[in-house]
Symmetry: C2
Subunit: 471 residues, 2 copies
């Protein structure tokens, strides 16, 4: 009943034959096929749906199955063999495999893994994020030798590394490097270098595959080995690993423990770490850091509600500021209409700057650029923006409300506000970094609160002082 994997690798681990490899297709094509699959499942034709999906690349297969609603997804998984489900996950890159693994759920995954060979089950488990792999392991009926996979904290080099990779001794010959390469599963993740160690297992250099492809078996390893630019330990944050790859233009990173080589992080995992870091950072600036749009509702609530509640507290600071000026507002009620203008402009100005700074910090672009230089730059920008926006806002207010005093007060407040928001937008993330916090996490709430409170103080303060001009 369970069909074989859509195409079967030959013994050597390669997919031979020109047309046996499914081709890449566009996102629109994937979406169109996903709709078709859903219609077939709705019509009870799961087998036809599978015949359509089995011709696709495993990455497309996975993203279509992950997008299906629960019952359809379960129907598709039932019709696939456990081997095929596991193979699909192993062929995907780590970000995608993680997402599909989350959608399939721990119970289903553990059932899949318990039906296939332990070696394959371990390789599959390795494609999942550490947290998910732990939950899947807990549900397994037959224990697997998973210690090595689960020992590492999520988001560290240890969780990203593979522990099987080609090596050769420094006093060996190229032939031995080739033997080490042949002994590995060639369907598995691909190294770009053979690593060179000494008698004690210490990393002393590397040989690139290109170099290896060009030399004779008898060549001594020491003649073609080159030094390694960067190593990390198993506790190095994934983000720092990704930075090293990018900054030094590396294709893989070695993980060492007291000099001894214990693992390798391949480019696919480093790319995954980069993309996940970028996603988290973008979400953090927007006060949300979740598992994504298809996470369970409860997890979305757990992630968003605390931020919404914290934000509520900060908006009450702004409310208290406005409340200080109730008597002024009672005299000139039209002032209330301009509160959103003051808050809105301050908010956007501050967010622009903080986003630039948070991103520049993450990309290591602030090296050698002093905080003073950045703050001065933002203050000058704020002056230019403030003069332009101040004149504009004054003109609009005068034309709209026929109140010259009001226009002048609003224009002055806008100028003052823009002067300060750039420096706040730059200063808050710089300060958070200085005290060792992640500037992406809390900057937005702090900056928005400061610009709101300061903007209202300035606007309503000037208005109170000049109340006779605007009444």
């Amino acid at each position: 009943m369970t069909p074989a994997a859509p195409f079967v690798p030959d013994g050597s681990g390669n997919l031979r034959g020109e047309m046996s490899q499914p081709q890449a297709i566009s996102l629109d094509e994937v979406a169109a096929i996903a709709d078709e699959i859903q219609e077939l499942i709705d019509a009870g034709e799961e087998r036809s749906a599978w015949n359509l999906i089995r011709k696709l690349h495993p990455a497309d297969m996975g993203s279509i199955i992950a997008g299906l609603p629960r019952t359809s997804r379960d129907a598709m998984i039932r019709i696939m063999s456990p081997e095929t489900v596991a193979w699909m996950l192993r062929q995907m890159n780590p970000i995608q495999a993680g997402r599909v693994g989350r959608r399939l759920g721990s119970r289903l995954l553990s059932s899949v893994l318990s039906q296939i060979q332990p070696q394959q089950a371990l390789a599959t488990l390795r494609r999942l994020p550490v947290r998910r792999a732990r939950r899947v392991t807990e549900l397994l009926e037959q224990p697997l030798a998973t210690e090595e996979i689960l020992a590492h904290a999520p988001g560290t080099a240890g969780a990203l590394m593979v522990s099987r990779f080609p090596t050769v001794m420094r006093d060996g010959r190229v032939e031995e490097a080739r033997d080490s390469l042949k002994a590995l599963d060639r369907q598995g993740p691909k190294s770009t270098h053979v690593l060179v160690t000494d008698d004690g297992g210490n990393l002393v250099g590397q040989i690139s595959m290109i170099e290896l492809a060009l030399v004779e078996d008898a060549t001594p390893v020491s003649a073609i080995a080159t030094p390694v630019v960067a190593t990390v330990t198993k506790d190095t944050p994934a983000e720092e690993c990704a930075r090293l790859e990018r900054h030094y233009n590396l294709t893989q990173l070695s993980v060492i423990e007291r000099g001894r080589l214990i693992g390798v992080i391949l480019a696919e995992s480093l790319l995954g770490a980069t993309v996940e870091h970028d996603t988290r950072q973008m979400q953090q600036v927007a006060n949300v850091a979740g598992e994504g749009v298809d996470a369970p509702l409860s997890s979305s609530i757990r992630i968003r509600l605390p931020w919404l509640t914290l934000n509520l507290a900060t908006t009450f600071l702004a409310a208290a500021t406005v409340s200080l000026f109730e008597s002024t507002l009672a005299q000139v009620v039209v002032l209330a209409a301009f509160l959103p203008v003051v808050a809105g402009q301050g908010g956007i100005g501050g967010t622009q700057t903080l986003t630039l700074i948070v991103r520049a910090i993450a990309l290591g672009e602030l090296v050698g650029i002093s905080a003073r230089r950045l703050l001065t730059r933002e203050a000058v920008l704020g002056l230019v923006h403030g003069v332009w926006l101040g004149v504009l806002v004054a003109a609009i207010a005068i034309l709209w409300k026929q109140n010259v005093g009001l226009g002048i007060v609003l224009g002055l407040a806008m100028l003052g506000n823009m002067l300060i928001v750039g420096s706040v937008g730059a200063g808050v993330p710089l300060f958070l970094r200085r005290i060792g916090l992640d500037p992406a996490v809390a900057s937005a709430v702090i900056v928005t609160t400061v610009t709101d409170v300061f903007g209202f103080l300035l606007f309503l303060g000037i208005a109170s002082a000049a109340i006779n001009l605007i009444r």
Copy 2:
């Protein structure tokens, strides 16, 4: 006077000797050295500064020089040979090289390139973004054969690809693949595959370096070639190239024109495209998309001021909404204090959702997930959030202002607002994508405007209707 490059590659293109390769250092160490360099230059000791910097990896060298203020930077560049400046740029990854190239300026770069060998000058020019390379070329006194580099639109596959890469004919033997590999500059960018073509130059397959390292010279190419999963054309957007790499777990992408192989995009460029896309997207959601924190002031103003001005127009929509209720506000002036609470919560709720959706669209995570499902999900989340925040805000208002009616009005407005903002936050980017626009660019302004206007209408509308309860 001009010292040689800090370490000289031997004839074979490899850096031999264990300690000749500078090691990776942490960002903090780079920053500390940058400070030291600045102090030395300030003290007029440029030569000591150079002796410190020349021991570093070219990537660190570049980022320190890029971070120096203009006069110090020029002093450092004067002391380096043109060969070293060009070599440094060629060793960096494309994002970094682009940033350093921007900081050095077109005039200085064209002077550097005109003093080195044309072949090296071309290779260096290739590391720069197309726009910058064009400006540098215009300033060159001696023309270079740059047509091939400058022909491509920025942000396309053509601008990312290299046009020298190893190939072999499908009816050839492995020996010929090795010859093709040997003929390339081994200091240059690294391929992971040798590409297989037919008589007409059409791409028919590829051989991975690992495979090549393991077979005999006499092996026929057809015995080890495998099919290519994805190809692009020179006009394919960089973003789509990066998606193909990620999604299909590829290490390089072939560029074809009517079947013929014309170039290869390597992993380093695809990683660069991913990081630049993520940066742009994060900035766009914050209404800023600039060259970064070290761009000239004029360019920052050109980028930010239009958004600030557009945002001003939208805040006046919110102001006009509040203005509609001036008579209500005149009767119950305390309402004004709660305007920031309504706007602040609506803004954050909308931004949370829109950020999740924009990012999910970019990562291709919405395949098979219908807009209705997403909007329903957000509405349910909004209901949960709205009940919690509504009760909380009502309680605070009642305790603070001793006004039960006001608390109830505010709580109801909060509930209604949260119910709607999630759907707006999800609906706007989905709609923009449907009509073919980039959801990252305009979503934030639209969502904030809608949530502000709707929130004020709801809050002040209910207050007006229940004016006798709260007065």
